[in-house]
Each structure stands twice: as structure tokens, then as C-alpha cells.
């Protein structure tokens, strides 16, 4: 990405970038899939580049379409005890705990 005079030009997303993004996204990719994704992402970003035609210097970003202020609520427990039901969905459990691969040696 090169920024000059407020216009940026998209540079090709290379294989290295795709692999870096896949690490950030926690999705493992083999070489073939990474290449295919690089091609797809480049064609999508080529299409997205159209936005560069517009000058948006003095435009407020629109973050939420619903102009509401967040509501407060009382800090009360509303759900019943559904521990067992929730644990039922877990891929691996041990008594009342979710089990994950060892994190600390």
C-alpha cells in the first residue's frame, strides 16, 4: 500500500501476506489453498479499489445506522442453571470444565 496525495494504490496481495493473514485469522491453509485465496482476494480488492475515486476527507464515518445510546440494565442473573445443557455442546469436557490442549507446560 502506497499513500500519496490522499489516494492509495492497492498493491497485489502476495502469498506471504495471505499466509500472515491466515495466521491472524487462525485458519490453517495449505499451499494450494493459499494460492487460490491470493487470486480471489486480488480480484475482490481490485473491485473494492473503486472507493479510491471518492474524496471522503470531510465525511463522518457511519458506525451505526441505529442512532441509539446503549441502554443500562440491572446486573442480575436472568438465566436458570443450564450448565449441563451448555456442557453438552462442548467437544471435550471433564466434569464441569471445558477441556483444551495443554497450554502451560
Amino acid at each position: 500500500m502506497v499513500v500519496c496525495d490522499n489516494i492509495f494504490y492497492h498493491m497485489t496481495i502476495d502469498l506471504k501476506t495471505v499466509k500472515h493473514i491466515s495466521k491472524l485469522a487462525r485458519i490453517s491453509l495449505d499451499e494450494k489453498k493459499a494460492e487460490k485465496l491470493a487470486t480471489d482476494m486480488n480480484s475482490i480488492f481490485e473491485f473494492i479499489e473503486k472507493l479510491n475515486e471518492l474524496n471522503t476527507d470531510n465525511v463522518e464515518p457511519l458506525t451505526s445506522i441505529a442512532e441509539t445510546t446503549l441502554r443500562f440494565r440491572d446486573d442480575k442473573i436472568t438465566s436458570e442453571n443450564i450448565r449441563e445443557k451448555i456442557l453438552k455442546n462442548s467437544p471435550e469436557k471433564n466434569d464441569d470444565f471445558f477441556v483444551v490442549p495443554k497450554v502451560v507446560e
Binding site: 495471505v18 485469522a25 490453517s28 473494492i48 473503486k50 445506522i65 441509539t68 441502554r71
Partner: protein, 485 residues
């Protein structure tokens, strides 16, 4: 009397209230037909036994004051249903059984509706053809090997095939209106904040909205009345006075001003779409509306904006699928490896593509150039509509740039697939209500839809215009039940 399954929701309610049909008979009819309709692949999870049981219970102790008295209804598998598997069309949620109910479905059950089953959809609602579902393609009842649209493709197909009297979908960029257009049915995306997002598997939270899909406009008004509600559990739910959409439905639209945006005349738009639009303008005039040319200058920037905003939000929403508390888990040599393998095996290609795009546009150094830029352009798109609504009450456009395409035709070209949503995406970006109604056919006799876009919270005007035009258009689907032969 015609077959139970071909009745509109309104007719079915009337028959049930007059005790000409029992809830159990209705449930049986829809289930029998579903058993003969496996080929179109609308169901991910059937709830047939339970539906029969509940319909019997309704008949034993009927309450005809309810708005959906004992009506069996199938819903998109993006709505969490308590103790009924909810997959969002994804392998990663293949075995997920929610412990809670979405507000929208709860509203339906509170008014007497009974769950028939969960309908197929594009994975996490990302798609325009239902081809990204882990549970396979859905066939469009209009013709064999035709896509039913997406992402609410199971919903539109089930409706067109008379497998449910009405249904609900979700619409992030066109996922209710485009499949409605492809199947000759009606689909309404309400104003952002009308229907609660609580319990809907999240895709892009600033755009997602649930809405009714039906055989005609009146049925959509009945269902909208049930599902639209203020909900404290959704922080963007809006507390506004909702109309009694069905009883306030009127064909008197005389003097309403309808805008025709010149920017929707896109390059390469097929002549038959242009013709349909012109015909629609004539129908609107016949109904007494005044036609006014308007401009929505930033229309062509809507899709590029959407393909930054939606994947960005999706990449953060989908970060929760890590194989720890629920869903699929693949084994890995350590925690990170487990996450990476789970997400690689659990997500399909389109979902991975969008998570990758979203991660990229939000990553360090690119945020301003992409995400912030897109939010600014989104503001301009919204302002276009704000200005147009100083002059007009509603806007009339085609729903899609083409009719339904063949299965496999666009699945290798993401950008050409995305172009399908060119007329529907701006409406989500601006948070407006929009409806698609069937308005004609193309050279292959495949249905084509017209879209009516309204002011925020003015679903009533959108419905009224659609209701008036529907009568003039007098569209009838010609479904031959080819999948049963």
C-alpha cells in the same frame, strides 16, 4: 377448497379459525409434501414429530385469538431454536444445540406458530445461491438445477414449493429479497432495529436484519406484525411505535410519490430487467402514485463498501468459533494448532475468503485505508437516501440484475456472484426497509422481482405500495412439482 399446502397464510388462518382445517391436519399436509420433496433439499433439520405433537395439543386446547393459531412454520437455520439443532449451514456448527431461543422465533411461537423444521441456507448467510451451505445445494422449485437464490435459499424454495405457509429469513445484503425474486415469492427486509437480532447467528451485525418471506404481500404484513418487536436483549433494537401492519394494509396509495433512481440503470443490465422496471413504473402510476426521477449518486460505491464492512464484521463475529465450548473440534498438537485446524476444517471456502478479507482490512496499517474509508462512503450512501426522501415517499427499482442462474454457473467467480446484490446492498447499508415482489418472467419463464424501498420505520408504506402493485401485476407462479416425478 384447494390443497392445504397451497393456501396463503391468511387463508390457512381463516380455515383454522373456522374449524374447517385443524392444526394437526395442516401439519400433516406440509410434512407429507416434505417427505415427497427431499430432492430439493430444503431441510437441514426436520422437527416433524414434535410439530405433529404440538399441533395436536393446539387442537385439543385451541386459542383462536392468537395471530398464528396452530400454524406450522419452517424457519431459516440461522435462528437459534431452543433444544433444536441450529447449524447456520456450517460444518463448524453441525452438532450445535442452542440452550436459548431467538426473539424472532419466540415471537412466532408465542402467537401460536409451530416449528416444522430448520431450512437450508448459505453458510453463515454468506452467499447468493445457497451453494455455500455445508448441507448441499437447494433446488429452485421453478426449474431443475436452478439456484433458489441466497442466502435464504432453503426458505425461498420451501415457500415456492408449498412446504411452509410462510417463513422467515435474514437479510444482510439481499438475502431475503434476492431469493424471493428468484422464486416468485415476496420477501421483506425491515428497517434495521425493527426485528431483534437476539439469537440469530451473527454475520455482519450492523447490517443483519430478519424479515418475513411469503406467497403474497398480505401474508408478509401478518408475519411482520408478529416478529417486529422492541427487545432489550438486542442493543440496537429500536423502541418505536409499530403499526398493525396487516389491519392497516391498504391499496389506497393515491398521491404517494415514488422515486426512480437513474443510477440503478447499470451497465450491461439485461433488456428484460429494464422492461420489467418500466412495466413496474406503469403499474405504480395505475395505482395512483406519482413518479419522480431521483438521483442516488453513490450507488456504484455500495458493493465495494459492503465487501469491506460485511467481511470486517464477519471476521470478528466468527472469531468465536474456536472448537472450545461448542461446535466442531479438530485435533491439533497445541491450542493454536487446534484453533487453526478447527477453523480450516469447519469453515467452507466462501466463509474463509470473507474472514480473510475482513481480517486483512482490519489489520494493522490497513484499517484507515479500508474500513474507515468504507464507513465514510457508507455515510454518503445513507445521505443519498436521506436527500431522496425529502422528495419522495418510496423508491422503485428492480430486485436483482438477472433471474435465477444455474447451479455452478457463478460459484468459481466471487465477484460475479457479488454483483447479484447490486440493487439490494445499498438498502442494508442505509438500514432501510425494502420488499421484493414478483413482477414478471424472463425469456425462460423464470421469475423477476421489483423492489420497493421505504423511509426508515415506514414498512407500512412499503407494504401498501407492494399490495397495490401486486393486484395490478397479478403474478402467478407456475410450479409443476417436477421434483416429485
Amino acid at each position: 377448497m384447494s390443497e392445504i399446502t397451497s393456501l396463503t397464510l391468511y387463508e390457512l388462518i381463516k380455515n383454522i379459525k373456522e374449524k374447517k382445517i385443524s392444526s394437526n391436519e395442516a401439519a400433516k399436509s406440509f410434512i407429507d409434501r416434505a417427505e415427497k420433496s427431499k430432492k430439493i433439499n430444503v431441510y437441514v433439520t426436520e422437527n416433524f414429530e414434535n410439530c405433529l405433537k404440538l399441533s395436536k395439543e393446539f387442537d385439543d386446547k385451541p386459542n383462536f385469538d392468537l395471530k398464528l393459531p396452530g400454524i406450522p412454520i419452517a424457519v431459516k437455520d440461522l435462528f437459534c431454536t431452543n433444544e433444536v439443532r441450529t447449524t447456520a449451514g456450517s460444518n463448524i456448527l453441525n452438532n450445535f444445540v442452542p440452550t436459548y431461543e431467538s426473539t424472532v422465533t419466540q415471537n412466532i411461537w408465542n402467537e401460536g406458530g409451530i416449528l416444522l423444521g430448520k431450512l437450508n441456507c448459505d453458510e453463515f448467510a454468506m452467499g447468493s445461491s445457497n451453494e455455500t451451505s455445508f448441507f448441499g445445494n437447494v433446488q429452485n422449485p421453478i426449474a431443475e438445477d436452478l439456484v433458489p437464490g441466497g442466502s435464504s435459499g432453503g426458505s425461498s424454495a420451501a415457500l415456492a414449493a408449498n412446504l411452509t405457509p410462510v417463513t422467515i429469513g435474514t437479510d444482510t445484503g439481499g438475502s431475503i429479497r434476492q431469493p424471493a425474486s428468484f422464486t416468485g415469492t415476496v420477501g421483506l427486509k425491515p428497517t434495521y432495529g425493527s426485528c431483534s437480532r437476539y439469537g440469530i447467528v451473527a454475520f455482519a451485525s450492523s447490517l443483519d436484519q430478519a424479515g418475513p418471506m411469503s406467497k403474497d404481500v398480505k401474508d408478509s404484513s401478518i408475519l411482520l406484525e408478529v416478529i417486529s418487536s422492541f427487545d432489550k436483549k438486542d442493543s440496537t433494537s429500536i423502541d418505536f411505535k409499530r403499526n398493525n401492519y396487516s389491519s392497516e394494509l391498504t391499496r389506497n396509495i393515491k398521491g404517494l410519490k415514488i422515486g426512480i433512481p437513474k443510477e440503478y440503470r447499470v451497465d450491461g443490465m439485461p433488456e428484460e430487467i429494464e422492461k420489467l422496471w418500466k412495466k413496474g413504473i406503469e403499474y405504480a402510476k395505475d395505482c395512483g402514485a406519482e413518479i419522480i426521477d431521483i438521483s442516488l449518486p453513490h450507488t456504484s460505491y455500495a458493493l465495494p463498501t459492503y465487501y469491506i464492512v460485511a467481511p470486517a464484521e464477519a471476521s470478528s463475529n466468527l472469531a468465536r468459533y474456536d472448537g472450545v465450548k461448542y461446535g466442531l473440534r479438530s485435533s491439533g498438537k497445541n491450542l493454536i494448532d487446534m484453533y487453526e485446524k478447527t477453523r480450516s476444517e469447519g469453515f467452507g471456502e466462501e466463509v474463509k475468503r470473507r474472514v480473510m478479507i475482513g481480517t486483512y482490512v482490519l489489520s494493522s496499517g490497513y484499517y484507515d485505508a479500508y474500513y474507515l474509508k468504507a464507513q465514510k462512503v457508507r455515510q454518503l450512501i445513507k445521505q443519498d437516501f436521506d436527500q431522496a426522501y425529502n422528495k419522495v415517499d418510496a423508491i422503485l427499482t428492480p430486485s436483482t440484475p438477472s433471474s435465477a442462474f444455474k447451479i455452478g454457473e457463478k460459484s468459481n467467480d466471487p465477484v460475479s456472484m457479488y454483483l447479484n446484490d447490486i440493487f439490494t446492498v445499498p438498502v442494508n447499508l442505509a438500514g432501510l426497509p425494502g420488499i421484493s415482489i414478483p413482477a414478471g418472467v424472463d425469456k425462460n419463464n423464470y421469475p423477476l422481482g421489483l423492489q420497493i424501498i421505504g423511509k426508515p420505520f415506514d414498512e407500512q408504506t412499503v407494504l401498501n405500495i407492494a399490495y397495490s402493485m401486486e393486484e395490478k401485476i397479478n403474478y402467478k407462479n407456475n410450479i409443476t412439482d417436477w421434483w416429485m416425478k
